[in-house]
């Protein structure tokens, strides 16, 4: 596990030196523009507009980083052959994968935390104060982070057995499908055969459920998120990531490098 930590810290350092965190400048500019605009155009709905915009931006920026860097975590190391010298050290392939995953999640955590801080500052500026109900925004940010961890795990899995382009397509495709898992589960039985119905239901449980992470409406209106949902999403992410990373390690441990 210590070796995975060494890989993780280096992955974080790579992201910092490759200027990945520069996206924060874009986020800051967006938030400044939004805070100015919201004062001009909205009366009484500042919270809704700012929180919706802020959480959406955190989510989109995080998703872009998760998908593109997540796929590059392993494929870049294989393409550039930086992996060769590393795997000749006493490090197991699953430790390497876990380290890469941990490093990117650490990067996303720092990035998301910085954006969340920016969002809170803008809320403070627009509302002239923060209340207890605003903690729901932090829960929303936490859920986004959980979602991003899941996306990174999926991107890592796909990059272990296919080309980077296909891995990006698979990850994005699965993310989009994962946003509609509830619909898949609730498809009317009348229009399908029993077998098909059972299949879609089974599939809906197998696919990653990204719908549960979306609490933007609640956060925008300052409604509290149930504690059970926080616990459920945390456990779901832990279990799902463990399964996906185990599969990735199984594939990668048998993979011949170029």
């Amino acid at each position: 596990m210590r070796r995975a930590g060494v890989v993780a810290l280096n992955t974080f350092r790579e992201a910092v030196r490759d200027r990945v965190l520069y996206n924060l400048v874009f986020f800051a500019l967006l938030m400044i523009a939004a805070s100015v605009a919201v004062g001009q155009i909205s009366i009484g709905i500042e919270q809704t507009v700012i929180v919706s915009l802020g959480l959406s931006a955190i989510s989109v920026i995080g998703l872009l980083i998760s998908v593109f860097l997540g796929v590059a975590l392993v494929s870049k190391e294989m393409d550039k052959r930086t992996l060769y010298a590393l795997l000749a050290k006493p490090v197991r392939r699953w430790e390497f994968l876990l380290g890469k995953f941990g490093g990117l999640v650490l990067t996303l955590t720092v990035n998301t935390a910085a954006m969340a801080l920016g969002l809170l500052l803008v809320m403070l500026y627009v509302k002239h104060g923060l209340g207890g109900s605003d903690t729901v925004v932090l829960v929303g940010v936490y859920f986004i982070l959980l979602k991003l961890a899941l996306v990174v795990a999926l991107a890592l899995l796909f990059s272990c057995f296919t080309t980077p382009l296909l891995a990006i397509l698979f990850t994005v495709g699965l993310y989009i499908v994962g946003l509609y898992v509830q619909e898949l589960r609730n498809l009317p039985v009348q229009v399908m055969s029993p077998a098909m119905s059972a299949f879609t239901k089974w599939l809906s449980y197998l696919l990653p459920n990204f719908e549960n992470f979306n609490v933007m409406a609640m956060a925008a209106h300052g409604r509290a998120v149930p504690g059970a949902l926080v616990l459920q999403n945390t456990l779901y992410t832990l279990v799902y990531c463990t399964i996906v990373l185990t599969a990735a390690a199984a594939v990668f441990s048998r993979r011949n490098l170029k």
Binding site: R3, V6, N10, R13, E14, R17, D18, K80, R81, T82, Y84, A85, L86, L87, A88, K89, P90, V91, R92, R254, N256, L257
Partner: protein, 317 residues
């Protein structure tokens, strides 16, 4: 007698290719080889012969289709065994956002070395490979030769018992090659086992206790460079200078380089040839024996392999 440092048994690697991967190309065929503890072993062969494949199999970067290998008596699947192994990949490339010091520190951390020990070793190693002045420059600004030096440094930083180097002289200038040769000799002096691949035969002849010649994925011979080739004298070479023109038939047969001529004659014809050349006004500079070299042995194998390949192609048609 101690166990061999490296031993392989029927190590084979096939790569599938073609539609549905139904066809197979053999990159390495039944490699049986032993590298004894404390020796410098050269793995020589032309490009694409299977040298790097064998080394990658040993390092578990690729997996064998058949066969097995052991390093220091342990199966190569044992990751902990890598504590005692140093490896330099062919044309190494490292994280280019790191400096040489950082990349060495990164690799050293996998060997559980304490911070002070890491720092001390890195200092010594950078000096050893001649990079102490470039230690704080990011690797993206390094030349190919400098990267090769970083690669060598990371391979021996943790004082491994077995060092495996894939084309260590590649990309180096004459000074760099000399330094690598010195490092290999120093490793041998320190009792380490060194196995390196190369297609530069003079390096292998100069450094190796034994060499293995691999051509077309098959090991064609193993032994001391001197025993692999037939050491009998193939002839005598006379080096001479000539001022003015001469019509002597032997002069016409000689190869001219500037003012000097080289002439190869049979051993029994040596004295007659010298008399004739002196009669023609030549000044004899040196006379030396011509022996078969490792290069000739190597080239014979390559030619035989090509001929066999061509014969197979003809018969397939």
């Amino acid at each position: 007698m101690p166990a061999p440092a490296i031993e392989t048994e029927n190590l084979t690697k096939e790569y599938p290719f073609g539609f549905l991967h139904l066809m197979k190309r053999t990159s390495l065929e039944g490699l049986n080889m032993q590298v004894e503890t404390g020796e410098v072993f050269g793995f020589i062969g032309p490009n694409g012969a299977g040298k790097s494949t064998a080394i990658k199999l040993l390092m578990r970067l690729i997996f064998p289709t058949a066969g097995s290998a052991r390093i220091l008596g342990k199966p190569i699947s044992d990751v902990e065994m890598h504590r005692d192994i140093g490896y330099l990949p062919e044309q190494p490339y490292f994280y280019d956002y790191l400096t040489a010091t950082e990349v060495l520190d990164y690799f050293a951390r996998f060997h559980d070395l304490a911070a002070a020990d890491r720092k001390d070793r890195i200092e010594r190693m950078l000096k050893k490979v001649g990079l102490e002045t470039a230690r704080k420059i990011q690797l993206r600004k390094y030349s190919k030769g400098m990267l090769q030096r970083v690669g060598l440094a990371q391979a021996i930083l943790h004082d491994p018992k077995v060092v495996i180097l894939d084309e260590p002289m590649s990309g180096l200038d004459p000074v760099g090659r000399r330094e690598v040769r010195d490092i290999i000799l120093q490793l041998k002096k320190d009792g380490k086992t060194v196995m390196f691949s190369t297609h530069i035969l003079s390096d292998a002849e100069m450094l190796c206790d034994r060499v293995g010649v691999i051509v077309g994925g098959k090991l064609r011979g193993v032994g001391a460079p001197g025993t692999l080739v037939d050491m009998k004298t193939l002839g005598m070479e006379i080096l001479f200078e000539l001022t003015g023109a001469s019509n002597a038939p032997l002069v016409a047969k000689a190869t001219r380089t500037g003012d000097r001529y080289r002439l190869q004659v049979a051993e029994e014809e040596l004295y007659a040839a010298i008399e004739q050349l002196r009669g023609a006004g030549a000044r004899i500079l040196s006379v030396s024996q011509v022996k078969a070299t490792l290069e000739e042995f190597f080239m014979n194998l390559v030619e035989a392999d090509r001929a066999q390949g061509a014969a197979v192609e003809v018969s397939e048609q």
